[in-house]
Structures are given as structure tokens and as C-alpha cells.
């Protein structure tokens, strides 16, 4: 059997196809929502998909077990990038999140999400003899995770910090934690909530309060939520049609090609379109988990579970925000929202999953 045939035979075509369809939907929505201002953003997204595909191939080609050896160096690189943000980062709306290289900008906190997954999987592989973790075993990994999380909180980027902690917590749970330890940690977290509240910036608190009571401020921070809900709801069963979403086209909806792109799908393609989108995500995520179940080692399995959790959180938070059941936090929709570094990272994740799936027969 030629090497080529072996590649195609064992490749998980289902995951690739689902990803491709999601990206096409994203491109259509970006085209629609930016048609008023020209097609620049559309073509930029197309370019990013090409760049991301290149990285996908790289992430697929190199044996994923190499990631295990690079877990610490990658971790160091992410910490460095997160520190650099404070030194050379560009400040936008009071938050320092971006590093700018000429025309490119990058959010190191996005990288942090993936590297935390890799590090957790590495740690799980290394400590495979321990099945149930107690407090003492948890201290070290918790510190490792909390360092980047704290740096992200300082930027401040509440959404990303939350997602990173959530992914890490999920992976800990999968690995097994003693019940008493779980209760203690949970109790500590609840006790810490008030402190967290007071450490929030004014606009962050406002967003949460507005979420709890949107009529508080219908034109300030509640504006996004209300207009997005109108857009989603008015899509009805079959939607208003491509390029015919009035909320989108008449600019009632801000940031509709980035964080609120789901509203475009829902308004122009209706319940059928948004249902299809959710179905695609469900397919993709369950396929990734299946790959994890079949993986030949604990490392590969946990990589897949982590990536699945990562996509799930993004999809859930982003869409919840658009349908008004979650406060407005800047979390984009994987493969669909406009955004360069985000797209590249998502495609790298897919590359890793394909890698794990393909190498399960090679020992």
C-alpha cells in the first residue's frame, strides 16, 4: 500500500468536511454582513483560511507525541507572549490584549487556550499511575494553570480567562479528583466570587448587571443584546434570505462579522440555518471525542477531549450571547467569526485531532 493511500484511507474525512462546511457558512455570513463596506474583510478571511490550512497540514504531519516533549517550551513561550502584551501590546478600549506586527495582530491569550490543553494532556500522560487526585497532587498543576490565567485576567480579558480555567477544570474532572478535594476547591471558589466581582472593571460589571436586567440600559451595553435578539428572533423558520437581514444590513447590529456573526446566520437563514449550524458543531465535537476514545495513548485522548471542550465552550458562550442567555463577552464563534489568529488556532486544533486519529494504528 502506498503511503498516499494510507493517508487517505485513515484520514477522518468527516471532521475535515464538517470543518469546511462551517468555514463556508462563515464566509457567506461575513460577505453578507460586510457587503455595505466592501469585500475587503471577506477576502482577508479567505486568506486566513489558506494560512490556517497550511498550519493544519503541519499540525497533522508532525507526530502529535512531539507535542508532549514541547509542552514545557510551549508553555514558556505562551507566558512570554502574555508578558510581552503588557510591554508592547496595543491598548484597545482600555484592555491590552493585542500584539501588533505590521498589518497582523495576535492575541496571545488565544494561544494560551490551546497550550493549556497540551500541557494538561502532557501532565495526565506523565502521572498516569495516579487515578484519583487529592489536594496535594493538584497544587502543582493548579499553579501552572493559574499563572497564565492571572496574566490574562490582568489584561483584562475575563472571557478568555474563564474559558482557560474551565477547560483545565474539565480535564481535571476527567482525570479524577477525590470527592472531598472537589468540595474544598468548589467551596474556595464560591468564597472567592465576591473578590472577583470587586476586581472587575466598571464596564465588565455593567455587562453582567445588564445581562441580569437588559432593560436597565437598552442603549448602552444592553443595546447589543437587544438588537441581537431581535435579529435572531426575526429570522423565523426560514430566515429573511441571504443579504436580506435588515438588522444586519441596516447596521442595528454592531460587531456583526466578529462576535455577533451568529445573529447574521439566524436572521438570514432562520431556524433551519441556525439549527443546521448547531448540528454541524454537534457532529464535529462528538467526532473529536470519538477520536479521543480511540486514541492509542492517554496523551492523544486528552488532547482531543480538551479540544472538544474548547470548541464546545466557544460555541455555547458565543451563541448564548447572541440569543440573550449569557452576558456580552467577546468570545468568537469557531470557523465562522472573522478573525485571523483565531481561525489559524482552530485549524491547528483540527490538525492535531486528525493527527491523533491517523496515528492510532501506528505503534
Amino acid at each position: 500500500m502506498s503511503r498516499y493511500a494510507r493517508i487517505t484511507e485513515n484520514l477522518d474525512w468527516g471532521i475535515l468536511a464538517t470543518t469546511a462546511v462551517l468555514m463556508v457558512i462563515g464566509l457567506l455570513c461575513i460577505y453578507s454582513s460586510t457587503s455595505v463596506v466592501g469585500s475587503g474583510i471577506f477576502f482577508r478571511q479567505l486568506l486566513w483560511i489558506c494560512i490556517g490550512t497550511f498550519f493544519l497540514v503541519v499540525a497533522f504531519a508532525v507526530d502529535y507525541r512531539n507535542l508532549m516533549y514541547s509542552a514545557w517550551p510551549l508553555y514558556g513561550a505562551v507566558l512570554l507572549a502574555l508578558v510581552l502584551v503588557f510591554i508592547i501590546g496595543k491598548e484597545i478600549s482600555g484592555a491590552r490584549r493585542w500584539i501588533v506586527f505590521g498589518p497582523f495582530r495576535m492575541q496571545p491569550s488565544e494561544l494560551a487556550k490551546v497550550f493549556v490543553i497540551i500541557w494538561m494532556a502532557y501532565w495526565a500522560e506523565k502521572k498516569k499511575h495516579i487515578l484519583i487526585h487529592g489536594m496535594r497532587e493538584l497544587v502543582f498543576p493548579a499553579v501552572v494553570i493559574l499563572v497564565p490565567v492571572s496574566l490574562i485576567l490582568l489584561q483584562p480579558d475575563l472571557g478568555t480567562a474563564g474559558i482557560v480555567s474551565f477547560i483545565a477544570a474539565g480535564m481535571f474532572l476527567l482525570l479524577g479528583i477525590r470527592r472531598s478535594t472537589l468540595l474544598t476547591v468548589g467551596g474556595l471558589f464560591l468564597a472567592g466570587l465576591p473578590f472577583l466581582w470587586f476586581s472587575l472593571k466598571g464596564y465588565q460589571r455593567l455587562r453582567i448587571l445588564t445581562f441580569l436586567d437588559p432593560s436597565r440600559d437598552p442603549l448602552g451595553s444592553g443595546y447589543h443584546a437587544i438588537q441581537s435578539k431581535i435579529a435572531v428572533g426575526s429570522g423565523g423558520l426560514i430566515g429573511k434570505g441571504f443579504l436580506h437581514g435588515t438588522q444586519t444590513q441596516l447596521r442595528f447590529l454592531p460587531e456583526h462579522h466578529t462576535d455577533f456573526i451568529f445573529s447574521v446566520v439566524a436572521e438570514e437563514w432562520g431556524f433551519l440555518g441556525s439549527g443546521l449550524l448547531l448540528f454541524l458543531y454537534m457532529t464535529l465535537i462528538t467526532k473529536i471525542i470519538t477520536v479521543g476514545l480511540k486514541a492509542k495513548d492517554r496523551f492523544g485522548a486528552l488532547l482531543c477531549f480538551g479540544i472538544a471542550a474548547y470548541f464546545t465552550l466557544h460555541v455555547f458562550i458565543n451563541i448564548s450571547m447572541a440569543v440573550g442567555i449569557f452576558p456580552v463577552v467577546g468570545v468568537p464563534l469557531p470557523f465562522v467569526s472573522y478573525g485571523g489568529s483565531f481561525m489559524v488556532i482552530n485549524l491547528i486544533c483540527i490538525g492535531i485531532v486528525l493527527n491523533v486519529a491517523w496515528r492510532r494504528f501506528i505503534f
Binding site: 458543531y281 462528538t286 470519538t290 448564548s320
Partner: protein, 607 residues
């Protein structure tokens, strides 16, 4: 997930079992979303559709009144007055032609102009657009009467910037204007929108963040015809914070009267703190005309005016310092330890260096002069000798320490640095060595040296206060900023001050005409040559064309012991310093005492 049989046996059973929770978790989350979407899009779809079809909520931003600008005594210099703007919301105007035709006679302007304005807003139909700014009250009444016939049109009361003293102090104040594309990008995320007014120069620019306040908004519902039905919400704007200057308005008036219609600048400073009491530059401009209503024609008139009214000569104008610079040379000679103040130099009316002859301003010569006499009589030969002995680098070192030839750090935009030349600078700039003759002329403030009036005020303040160099400042909230302490020995300061006092009070002083028996005052004249050589050929100054006439400098301080005020005046092409610039300085100093209400009983009674 049933294919357990092909699952890798290496994966521990425990994790495999738990991963089912992961799948369940995913299904539950996405299930919630599906349910929510079903509820919103299918069950309540028609409700939201109605909302989107009648998305008739309109938002009109209410600009915040800008903070006021006060002088040091609380005199209001810049305020706001209510102005009436006619606005349209392009979305609510179905027939722009009709509206324009109806509005035209009410506003007394051509319909085509209004049409154009409405067309501009086509791409942003929900952003209110100004079609007529600051209309008179009788037009307001007319438009209000016709309102029922003008859907989509509204009259908004907008605070308009008002500068109470017109062009007086206009350069310090600056002006506001419509925000530019570049400013919009720079201020991304700070809530600016196209069409907003923003500080463009002076204090209006520097204190923009304090002055601007927070915009409010009025949210209302309109009916299908674009008529307002009711106000849904109103958020009051938060007025900007007031700003208090160190400027003394009354002194500013005196300085302005002194300058009259001549082009020039006056700076007055408190030598012990760096507070700027006066910064006046003429000709001025009326900052009020820039607030958006400026026509292309008006703008051209201002920009193309040969007298450059927008230029703040007090900190943008760089001139040769002339004889005022002799004070700096004196200090440099003291610091190098080469000056014996009692030793005399014989001035025959000229100074020869090789075959080149440098003239003293007094052709018949001053005879034997010591330091104090040399300053008092402004003897060029004395300083030629010092300059030759010091060399330019030693002079420049002290000049730079005093703040000459560098931005003073006053918190106003676009300051000119001027120039303090050195040998290294000349080699770099022209690729030539420094000629011996250039040391000589540099010592009397001619040649390459260029300074601004604010620099002179800063440097002279430092000399007369004993060596403390303060950064000049115009905001009264800022603290005195001591840049450097030269620690000039008491005796040296006394000698310099005595020489400067002689300029005015001595019978031979170059500015003896300024003498005032009630005021203890010192000073120095200066003449900055514009066209070298031209002057001597024409005996009568009036025969010299304006643009070739010398610039007149005068710097004064008072009282001689423990000076409270330093005043610098520069009159462009004003001829000799003492005659033109001197009286301005004296008047400002007299005004200072008069306003202080002390030191002169006579004046107080007159008041």
C-alpha cells in the same frame, strides 16, 4: 458512543467512562441552544419580526457642554452658549427633495445645499446629521412652526463653544473643530464619533480629556412617517471638567494693548514657580470661528494671511536672541572661571580678529568698561572679548542648561526647539569647522542661535532667581517643576542683576527711557538682526523695508531683589529693542503691581 470494541485498550477504563459525561455535557449545552432558538425563532418569531420591521427606535446623541476655561483669578475665558442646530435623520426622510424645498426658505439658504447635506448621510441612515448649525432664533421659530410638515427634521439645542475675549490669548486657548479621520483612529474606543468637536490646539487640545465630558443621548420612538412619537429614554450628558490656567487675564490685556497691531509676542512668568502669567502672540485669531461653522473661504483667509495669525510666536517663533544673550555669556564666563567682573576692557568702538573688524553698536566706543558697565551699556566689544575667550561650546553648555535652544516642556502643542549651535552641530549640519569670528558674533546673540520668547523667559527667570530652572506651565493644577539647579553664587547673581538694573536706571543705560521712580526694575534690550549689513547702509530706520527690519527684544524683571515677575517681549521687525519692546514690558510690570494692589499707593488710589 458504542464502538467499545475498537477502542484502544491503552486508554484507562476510568477516563473512558467519564468521557461519556463529556458527551452528555456537550449535548445538553447544544440542546439548550436549540430549545432557545426554537422558542425565539418559531414560537416568538412573529413578535421579533414585528420588532425588527418597526425598529423605530432612534438615538440622538446630546453633546456634553465642554468644561470652562478660567484664568488664575477665575475670569471665564471660554464658555458655552446654547445654539440651535437643524438635524435630519436620513432614514426618516422619504423624499429629500420635498424636505429640502420646504426647509430652504425657512433657513434662508438654497435647497440644493440642504439636498447635498442629506445625501451625505445616505450610507448611515440612522446617524443624525446637521444641516444647519447655529441658526438665529427667528429661524428656529419658523422651523418649529412647520415641524408637522417636516418629518425626520429636528432642532437640537447644542452647547456651542464661546470665547469671551475673541482673539485675546487665542494661542494659549487654542480652538476646537470637527474631529479628523486621524484623530478618530488615535482615539479609538474613547467614544468619539465622526462630526464630534475636539480640541485642535492650545489648552483645548492639551486638556481635551478633562474638558470634553461624556455625551448623553435621547432615545425616542418614531412612527412610520418618521415623526417622533415619544421619548423612551434620556440620558443627560455629563459636562466636562473646568480648567484653570496660570494666565492672568488683565495682564494679558495690557500685553495685548502694548503689542497693538504689531506682530510679536509677550511672555510673563513667575520666576520662582514657572507659572506663565501672560502668553500673548499677535496677530491673533478668533478661535470661535473654528467650531465647525468655518467656511472654506474663512479657512483660506486665515491660513494664507502673510502675518500667520495661527502661529503662536511666543513658542513657535524662533529668533536670534540679540544682546539679551549677553546675560547667558556672562554666566558662562563666570562658570568657566575666566571672568573678573572688576577688570575692564577698553572699547574703541570695534574689535579686530585677524583682518576682520567687528563693530560695537556705538561707533565712537565705550572706553574702559567693567562687567556691570558692559551690561548696562550693552557694550559689544566687551562681550566679543568674552566670546573669543569662551568659545561657542562653553557658551552653548550654559545656554542649554538654562533651557535655550530646546523645547521648554510647557504643556502646549507644537513648540519650536530653536537652536543652540555647537562646533559638533556645525560640522554635522554644514560639514564645516567653526570659524573664530563666529565665537565673537555668537557672544552678542547673532549668528546661528535661535530662541523663542518662552525660552528666553525660562532662561532669564533662572538667571535672576539664582539658578533654579523651572519648566514653564499654564495649567494651575500642575506643580512647579524644577528642572535643574545651577546654584549661581550670590555675588555673581548680584552683579548680573546690578548690570541689568543699570540698563534702566543708570544714566547711560540702553533703556533709561523706561525708568519709573516707583518701580525697581532691571532688564536688557536686544536686537535680532534680520539682514546683516543691510542696516548700516541706510541711516534712517524708516527707510528700511519692513521685512528687513530687525526684531526687537526686551526682557525685564522686577523687583531687582527677589524678582516676582519676568516679562519678555518680542516685536517682529520692530527695530531696536529698547524703544519698541521695552515699553510693553514696563507696562506689564506696572500692571502687575497695580493689580496686586501693593507697592504703589498712588496707583491704588487712582484705581
Amino acid at each position: 458512543m458504542k464502538p467499545n470494541n475498537i477502542t484502544n485498550p491503552h486508554l484507562d477504563e476510568d477516563i473512558r467512562r467519564k468521557s461519556r459525561y463529556l458527551i452528555a455535557f456537550v449535548l445538553v449545552l447544544l440542546g439548550i441552544l436549540i430549545l432557545r432558538l426554537f422558542f425565539m425563532q418559531i414560537i416568538n418569531g412573529s413578535y421579533y419580526e414585528e420588532l425588527s420591521r418597526n425598529n423605530r427606535v432612534r438615538i440622538i446623541p446630546i453633546p456634553a457642554p465642554r468644561g470652562k476655561i478660567f484664568d488664575r483669578d477665575g475670569v471665564v475665558l471660554a464658555d458655552n452658549r446654547p445654539a440651535f442646530n437643524v438635524m435630519v435623520l436620513p432614514e426618516d426622510i422619504s423624499k429629500p427633495e420635498d424636505i429640502s424645498r420646504r426647509l430652504a426658505p425657512l433657513l434662508d439658504r438654497p435647497a440644493s445645499e440642504i439636498m447635498q447635506a442629506i445625501h451625505k448621510g445616505k450610507s448611515k441612515p440612522y446617524d443624525p446629521l446637521v444641516v444647519a448649525r447655529d441658526i438665529p432664533f427667528n429661524q428656529v421659530a419658523k422651523v418649529e412652526m412647520e415641524m408637522f410638515n417636516l418629518p425626520g427634521v429636528s432642532i437640537e439645542i447644542i452647547p456651542e463653544r464661546e470665547y469671551l475675549f475673541g482673539d485675546l490669548g487665542s494661542h494659549v486657548m487654542g480652538y476646537i473643530g470637527e474631529i479628523s479621520k486621524r484623530q478618530l483612529e488615535e482615539k479609538e474606543g474613547l467614544g468619539y464619533a465622526p462630526g464630534d468637536l475636539i480640541g485642535k490646539s492650545g489648552i483645548e487640545l492639551v486638556s481635551e480629556d478633562n474638558l470634553r465630558g461624556v455625551k448623553g443621548k435621547r432615545v425616542f420612538e418614531v412612527d412610520a412617517h418618521g415623526q417622533r412619537v415619544r421619548v423612551l429614554e434620556e440620558r443627560e450628558p455629563v459636562p466636562g471638567r473646568d480648567v484653570k490656567l496660570t494666565i492672568d487675564h488683565d495682564l494679558q490685556v495690557i500685553a495685548r494693548q502694548g503689542l497693538g497691531d504689531k506682530a510679536g509676542a509677550v511672555v510673563a512668568m513667575i520666576p520662582g514657580t514657572g507659572e506663565v502669567l501672560v502668553m500673548e502672540s499677535t496677530p491673533g485669531f478668533d478661535p470661535g470661528v473654528f467650531a465647525a461653522s468655518l467656511t472654506v473661504r474663512q479657512w483660506k483667509d486665515i491660513v494664507e494671511d502673510p502675518m500667520h495669525p495661527l502661529e503662536n510666536r511666543a513658542m513657535r517663533g524662533a529668533y536670534p536672541p540679540g544682546s539679551v544673550f549677553k546675560v547667558v555669556v556672562t554666566l558662562a564666563a563666570f562658570r568657566k572661571g575666566i571672568l573678573d567682573p572688576d577688570a575692564t576692557v577698553f572699547c574703541p568702538g570695534h574689535y579686530s580678529l585677524g583682518r576682520v573688524i567687528f563693530r560695537c553698536w556705538k561707533p565712537e566706543g565705550h572706553g574702559n568698561v567693567d562687567l556691570v558697565e558692559a551690561i548696562t551699556k550693552s557694550c559689544d566689544v566687551y562681550f566679543y572679548t568674552l566670546g573669543r575667550a569662551l568659545g561657542i561650546d562653553a557658551i552653548a553648555e550654559v545656554g542649554l542648561q538654562l533651557g535655550l535652544g530646546a523645547k521648554t516642556g510647557i504643556m502646549l502643542p507644537d513648540e519650536a526647539p530653536g537652536l543652540m549651535p555647537t562646533r559638533a552641530w556645525k560640522r554635522k549640519r554644514f560639514g564645516q569647522p567653526w570659524h573664530p569670528g563666529e565665537h565673537v558674533i555668537a557672544a552678542i546673540g547673532q549668528g546661528y542661535t535661535l530662541v523663542t520668547p518662552i525660552q528666553v523667559a525660562k532662561a532669564m527667570s533662572a538667571v535672576v532667581n539664582g539658578g533654579r530652572v523651572y519648566t514653564p506651565r499654564v495649567l494651575s493644577t500642575s506643580e512647579p517643576a524644577l528642572e535643574r539647579e545651577l546654584a549661581i553664587p550670590r555675588r555673581q547673581v548680584d552683579l548680573i542683576r546690578r548690570g541689568l538694573q543699570g540698563v534702566i536706571e543708570d544714566a547711560h543705560g540702553t533703556a533709561r527711557s523706561l525708568r519709573d521712580k516707583d518701580i525697581s526694575m532691571g532688564g536688557k534690550t536686544g536686537t535680532a538682526q534680520v539682514a546683516r549689513g543691510y542696516v548700516s547702509k541706510l541711516p534712517d530706520e524708516a527707510d528700511i523695508p519692513y521685512k528687513y527690519r530687525d526684531h526687537a527684544w526686551f526682557f525685564g524683571f522686577s523687583p531687582v531683589e527677589n524678582p516676582e515677575i519676568v516679562v519678555v517681549a518680542l516685536v517682529e521687525h520692530g527695530g531696536h529693542g529698547g524703544a519698541v519692546a521695552g515699553p510693553i514690558v514696563r507696562d506689564v510690570i506696572k500692571g502687575y503691581y497695580l493689580l496686586k494692589g501693593s507697592g504703589n499707593e498712588q496707583v491704588r488710589q487712582d484705581n
